[in-house]
C-alpha cells in the first residue's frame, strides 16, 4: 500500500501543515491558488485528490467543449500545480476518511495523512427514478466525461441511423437549456421537457419565463412545459427510442439528457460520521469548519444554514475563508446575494440572454415591480424595489441582460434614480458603476469587491484592466463582470491621477490604435507629416515601422514608396526575411500549397544555382535560405517570370493560409477547403497589420489544417463554414474562439474582412489577434455583437477598407523589379555593388549548407561549400606542417 506523505513541514502553532483537499474542481483549485497567494509565511503542503482523470477544469464553461475546448483548454490556471508544495492526484477517488488516524484512503489504496482536511467534493447530477434511465443514449450533463459521452454518442448514433438525431432534455433549468443548445450544435434536434410552468423556474418570474420560452422556441428547440419524464423505452436495437411524458404523450428520441438538479456529494462525510444537513451536504458554520475541527467543507458539498450553494461564487468565497482560517485569520463566510445568468445557449451563434437576482417574484412585503416588456424585440426587464421605490430588491432580464451585471451589485442599496429610467429602451439613467460603494461585490465568481478593485489601482499600482484581473482575479471566471470592471478601473485610474502610459515610444505618446485613428481621420500621408502632427524627434525602430504599417493598411503609403523606405524594418525594406548571418530567405507564395511541377522546377533551378538551403516551411510553402541582398532581385526575377509572387514571409501581414486537402480528394471533407484557402490567401495577401497573421481552413470537423491554432480559423460544416478567431501557436498557444457559424462563402468573407479590419484599426503594436481578442472588453461575446450583429454600425466601413486593399493589391516583387530606383537598394556595397559580403561562410550539413560556426570548416561560396568534403582538422594540418 502506498502512502503519499510529503515530508511533514515544520509547522508552527498556527501553520496548517499537511492540507489535503478531497475533490479537484474549481473550488479546490481556488483553495490552492489562495494558499499560494497568501501562505508565503506559513509551513504547509497541499495534496489535492480528484476522481476525474483531468486537471481541475472550468465547469462553468463546459459547453465550450463543443467549440473544441478540450480538457487542457478548460483547465483552471494549471501553473499552481507546478509549485513544489502542491501535489495533485487525479483519476483516483477517495474511498474513506479515517478521522481518528487523520488520514484518507483512496480507491487505489493510497493513504494520505492530513493535519487539515478540506472537503470540496461538489455535487452529482441527480436524476429522478425513471424506468429506462440506464439505456444507451441517456446521459447527464455535468462533467467532461458526460459531454464527451454525449458527443461520441451523437456522432456514432447519427452514423448508425443515417439521419440527424432527435434529442430531448429533461429539465428546463440553466443547465438543461445549455444542454439543449449543445444538442443543436452537435446537429441533433432538441426538445426541452420541464415539469414547472416555465423555463428557469427557480430564477425567472412568469413574464421572464415566457419571454425566454419564445426565444428558445425561436432557436428551433421545442419546449414542453408542465410535464415530466415518466419512462424511457428502448428502440428495437436496445438504445433509447421513446420518451413517455407524464401528460401521456410521447416523444421519439435517439438521445436524452437529464438535467434535473444536483445533490451534494456527501457520502464520504456521512460515512465518516460528520454532521450532515437535513437536505444533504456537510454542515458548516461561518468558518466553514465541519463538526470535526480539523475538517472543513467548501463549495456545493457544504451546507451553510441548511443550504448548499449551486454556484461557483459562494464556493470561492468559502475557499477564501478556509485559507484565511488555516493561515490563522478570522474571516467568516457570509452568503452574498447571488444572481444567475444563462450561459452557453446560442441562437445562430449569438448568446440567448437571461439573468436574474434577488427577489424575482416580489415576495418582500410592499415590494413594487417595475416592468418593461417588448414583445417585438422579445425582451423583458423587471426591477423589484422597496415600497418607497428607492431600494433595489431584485431584477429579471431576458433577451437583453446588459443591466444585470451593473445592477446586481446594487442589490439592497439605494438606486439613486427612478427605477423606470433604467429600463427605458435607450438605457435611460446612467448605470451606476463608478460610484459603487467599496463593499459591493463586483465579481461574484472570485468574490472581489469594488473596494478591492480600487485598491488594486491605488495600492498595488495596477494600471490596466489586465493588471487588475491578474492582481485580484476579478473577471477571470465567467467574465460577465468585465465591462463593469473596466469602467471601474478606468474611473479609478483617472481619479487617482495615475498617468496611464499608452505611449508607444519616446516619440509618440499614444497607442498604435489611437495613432491609427488620427492618421486615418486627418489623412496624413508620410512619416514626416505624422511626426510633425503628433510626435517628436526623428522616430525610432518602434514607431517608424508602426507608421509604415498604418500608412500601408490605409492604402496611402505603399511599403515600397520612397518616402516610406526609411521607415521599414530591414525585412520590409529588402522584401525578404533577414536570417542570422545577414542573408535572407526567399519564400514565394504558394496559395493552398498547390504548386505545379513547372514552378517546382524553377525553384529547384534557382536553389541549385545560388546554393540556397531549401526546405518546406511550417506554412505549406517552400523556403530558400541564404540569399544575399544583392542576389534578391535576380532570384526574384526568375520566380516572377515563372508566375510566382511575394509570399510576404517577411511582413507584419498575412503569412499563409494553411488548408487540408478537403472535399475534392478527402473522403471526409464536406467543403472545398483548398479552394477557400486559395481564395482567402489571394484576398488578404499583402495586407499590413499590427503583427503577422495566419489563417487556416479545414474541410471538416477533423480539423487537419489546425485552423483553430490560427488568427482566423475556418472549419467546414455540412451547412457552410464556422469561423474562429484569435488562435495562436507560438509562445502562448491559444485556441481560436467561435465567432460565427454556418456561413455561406460570401458571408464568410465579409465576417473575416470585418474581423481583420477591426483588428488592424484597434490592436496595439505587435499585438497578435490572440491577446487582442482576449483583452477585448467583454471578450468574444462583445466582439460577436460588433462584428456579426453590427451593434456599432461599423461593419460596412470595415468591409470597405478591405475591399480597397483587394482593389489596390500589387505584387511587391514585380513592382520592385520594374523600378530601377528601388532595385538600387539591393547592393551589397555602395562602392562595390556585386561584391559578396566577404565574411559569409558556409558549411555542409545533410547535403545542403548552413552558416558556419566559428572555427568550422567553411567556404564563402555556398555552392562550393555544399560539395566540399570536410577539410582536415587544424590538428591534422599542424601535423602535416
Amino acid at each position: 500500500m502506498t502512502v503519499v506523505s510529503p515530508v511533514r513541514p515544520a509547522v508552527g502553532p498556527n501553520d496548517p501543515g499537511r492540507v489535503v483537499v478531497v475533490g479537484a474542481g474549481m473550488v479546490a483549485h481556488r483553495v490552492v491558488e489562495q494558499m499560494l497567494a497568501r501562505g508565503e509565511a506559513a509551513a504547509w503542503e497541499i495534496t489535492v485528490l480528484g476522481d476525474e482523470p483531468y486537471l481541475p477544469y472550468d465547469r462553468v464553461h463546459l459547453s465550450e467543449f463543443f467549440d473544441g475546448r478540450d480538457a487542457d483548454a478548460l483547465a483552471m490556471g494549471p501553473s499552481v500545480w507546478d509549485d513544489a508544495r502542491v501535489t495533485l492526484r487525479t483519476g483516483d477517488a477517495v474511498a474513506s476518511i479515517d478521522r481518528d488516524a487523520q488520514e484518507i484512503l483512496t480507491r487505489a489504496g493510497v493513504r494520505v495523512p492530513y493535519d487539515n482536511l478540506v472537503l470540496a467534493t461538489g455535487s452529482w447530477a441527480w436524476t429522478p427514478r425513471t424506468t429506462g434511465i440506464e439505456l444507451p443514449g441517456v446521459v447527464s450533463y455535468r462533467t467532461l466525461d458526460d459531454v464527451t459521452a454525449l458527443r461520441d454518442w451523437i456522432s456514432a448514433r447519427e452514423q448508425q441511423l443515417g439521419r440527424p438525431l432527435r434529442g430531448a432534455v429533461v429539465g428546463g433549468g440553466v443547465l438543461g437549456l445549455e444542454a439543449a443548445s449543445a444538442l443543436q450544435r452537435l446537429g441533433a434536434h432538441a426538445t426541452v421537457v420541464e415539469f414547472a410552468d416555465r423555463l428557469m423556474s427557480v430564477q425567472l418570474d412568469e413574464g421572464g419565463g415566457e419571454t425566454l420560452r419564445v426565444r428558445i422556441a425561436d432557436m428551433g428547440v421545442d419546449v414542453r412545459l408542465g410535464t415530466g419524464a415518466t419512462r424511457l423505452v428502448a428502440a428495437p436495437d436496445g438504445a433509447v427510442g421513446l420518451l413517455v411524458l407524464s401528460d401521456g404523450s410521447t416523444l421519439d428520441v435517439d438521445v436524452v439528457v437529464f438535467s434535473t438538479g444536483i445533490r451534494p456529494r456527501d457520502r464520504l462525510a456521512r460515512e465518516s460520521g460528520l454532521a450532515i444537513g437535513e437536505r444533504g451536504g456537510v454542515v458548516v458554520g461561518p468558518t466553514c469548519r465541519t463538526s470535526d475541527p480539523l475538517v472543513w467543507a467548501v463549495g456545493e458539498v457544504a451546507s451553510y444554514e441548511g443550504v448548499c450553494a449551486g454556484l461557483v461564487a459562494p464556493g470561492n468565497a468559502q475557499a477564501d475563508v478556509v485559507v484565511d482560517q488555516l493561515l490563522g485569520g478570522t474571516s467568516e463566510y457570509a452568503p452574498a446575494p447571488e444572481g444567475t445568468k444563462l450561459k452557453g445557449v446560442l441562437h445562430d451563434g449569438v448568446p440567448v440572454e437571461a439573468a436574474s437576482f434577488g427577489d424575482v417574484n416580489a415576495l418582500t412585503p410592499g415590494a413594487l415591480e417595475v416592468t418593461f416588456a417588448d414583445p417585438v424585440a422579445k425582451t423583458y426587464k423587471k426591477l423589484v424595489v422597496s415600497d418607497d421605490a428607492r431600494t433595489l430588491l431584485g431584477g429579471v432580464f431576458v433577451g437583453d441582460a446588459a443591466l444585470y451585471s451593473s445592477l446586481r451589485p446594487m442589490l439592497g442599496r439605494n438606486l439613486g434614480a427612478d427605477p423606470s429610467a433604467f429600463l427605458a429602451p435607450e438605457g435611460g439613467a446612467a448605470v451606476p458603476s463608478a460610484d459603487l460603494p467599496d463593499d459591493v461585490v463586483v465579481c461574484s465568481c472570485a468574490n472581489v469587491t469594488a473596494g478591492t478593485v480600487r485598491g488594486a489601482v491605488t495600492e498595488h499600482g495596477c494600471t490596466s484592466v489586465a493588471d487588475v484581473k491578474k492582481c485580484t482575479k476579478a473577471g477571470t471566471v465567467c467574465g460577465s463582470c468585465v465591462p463593469l470592471l473596466t469602467k471601474l478601473v478606468n474611473t479609478q485610474l483617472e481619479a487617482s491621477g495615475v498617468e496611464v502610459s499608452h505611449a508607444m515610444c519616446e516619440h509618440f505618446a499614444m497607442t498604435r490604435a489611437e495613432l491609427f485613428a488620427l492618421v486615418r481621420a486627418e489623412g496624413l500621408r508620410t512619416f514626416t507629416e505624422v511626426v510633425a502632427a503628433h510626435g517628436t524627434g526623428r522616430g525610432c525602430v518602434v514607431c517608424k515601422p508602426v507608421v509604415a504599417s498604418i500608412l500601408s493598411s490605409l492604402g496611402v503609403g505603399h511599403v515600397l514608396d520612397r518616402a516610406n523606405a526609411p521607415l521599414q524594418d530591414t525585412n520590409d525594406h529588402a522584401l525578404a526575411n533577414m536570417q542570422k548571418d545577414g542573408t535572407y530567405s526567399v519564400i514565394p507564395r504558394i496559395p493552398g500549397g498547390e504548386i505545379t511541377p513547372e514552378k517546382l522546377a524553377v525553384i529547384a533551378d534557382v536553389a541549385r544555382e545560388y546554393g540556397l538551403y531549401t526546405r518546406i516551411t511550417g506554412a505549406q510553402r517552400i523556403g530558400m535560405f541564404g540569399a544575399r541582398l544583392e542576389q534578391l532581385p535576380q532570384i526574384w526575377k526568375r520566380l516572377v517570370d515563372a508566375g510566382m509572387e511575394s509570399g510576404q514571409a517577411y511582413g507584419k501581414s498575412l503569412r499563409a493560409v494553411k488548408s487540408c486537402v478537403g472535399q475534392s480528394w478527402c473522403r471526409f471533407g464536406v467543403q472545398d477547403s483548398v479552394g477557400m484557402g486559395v481564395q482567402l490567401e489571394l484576398r488578404y495577401r499583402g495586407l499590413r497589420a499590427p503583427h503577422k497573421f495566419k489563417v487556416g481552413v479545414s474541410g471538416c470537423a477533423r480539423e487537419c489544417a489546425e485552423a483553430r491554432g490560427k488568427d482566423v480559423g475556418v472549419i467546414a460544416t455540412e451547412r457552410g463554414w464556422n469561423v474562429y478567431v484569435g488562435g495562436n501557436g507560438g509562445f502562448t498557444p491559444r485556441h481560436a474562439e467561435l465567432l460565427a457559424e454556418d456561413l455561406d462563402d460570401g458571408m464568410l468573407l465579409r465576417v473575416i474582412d470585418r474581423f481583420l479590419a477591426y483588428y488592424i484599426r484597434s490592436a496595439d503594436r505587435l499585438q497578435r489577434t490572440a491577446p487582442w481578442v482576449a483583452d477585448y472588453p467583454g471578450g468574444i461575446v462583445e466582439l460577436r455583437k460588433v462584428l456579426v450583429d453590427d451593434t456599432l454600425g461599423i461593419c460596412a466601413d470595415l468591409e470597405a477598407s478591405i475591399a480597397e486593399h483587394v482593389e489596390g493589391y500589387e505584387d511587391e516583387w514585380a513592382a520592385t523589379l520594374a523600378d530601377p530606383a528601388r532595385l538600387a537598394r539591393f547592393a551589397s556595397f555602395v562602392n562595390a555593388p556585386d561584391t559578396p559580403d566577404p565574411d559569409l561562410a558556409y558549411t555542409p550539413e545533410r547535403g545542403q549548407v548552413r552558416p558556419a560556426r566559428p572555427g568550422e570548416a567553411s567556404d564563402p561560396n555556398p555552392v562550393i561549400a555544399r560539395t566540399i568534403a570536410v577539410r582536415p582538422s587544424d590538428v591534422e594540418l599542424e601535423d602535416a606542417l
Binding site: 523606405a565 524594418d569 525585412n571 538600387a824 556595397f829 555602395v830
Partner: protein, 110 residues
C-alpha cells in the same frame, strides 16, 4: 589619420537610410540624415556577428541620433558609436568613422 577614401556620390544615398561601403577591406555603414549630415560607423554588428548595421533603422533618443541593429535591436549613437541600449547584453560600442562630403562625393577617413 587622414587617408580619405572616396566612396560614392552623395546622390547614391537615401535620406534617413544606410548603405554599406568597403573601405580598404573594412565594412563601413554610412547614413545620410535629413539634415544633410553623413555619418559612418562599423557595419559589423558585434552582438550578432553579422554585417548588418547599415540595414538598421535611423532614429533618435532624446537629442542623440541613433541606429538600431536589424538583428536584435541594439541601439548605438550614430555620431560616437556609443552603445545606448544593449538589449540585455553587455554594451559594445561601434567604431565610428569620420565622413566628409567633398564636391558631392562621400569620403570616409581612416
Amino acid at each position: 589619420m587622414s587617408t580619405w577614401t572616396p566612396v560614392c556620390d552623395l546622390s547614391a544615398l537615401d535620406p534617413e537610410r544606410g548603405v554599406a561601403a568597403l573601405v580598404d577591406g573594412v565594412q563601413v555603414a554610412l547614413f545620410l540624415l535629413d539634415d544633410g549630415r553623413v555619418l559612418g560607423v562599423a557595419n559589423h554588428d558585434p552582438f550578432s556577428g553579422a554585417n548588418v548595421v547599415s540595414r538598421g533603422i535611423v532614429g533618435s533618443r532624446g537629442e542623440r541620433t541613433t541606429v538600431t541593429s536589424p538583428m536584435h535591436k541594439q541601439v548605438w549613437d550614430l555620431v560616437t558609436g556609443e552603445c545606448l541600449d544593449a538589449a540585455g547584453k553587455e554594451p559594445v560600442d561601434l567604431p565610428a568613422f569620420p565622413v566628409e562630403v567633398r564636391d558631392g562625393v562621400v569620403h570616409v577617413g581612416s
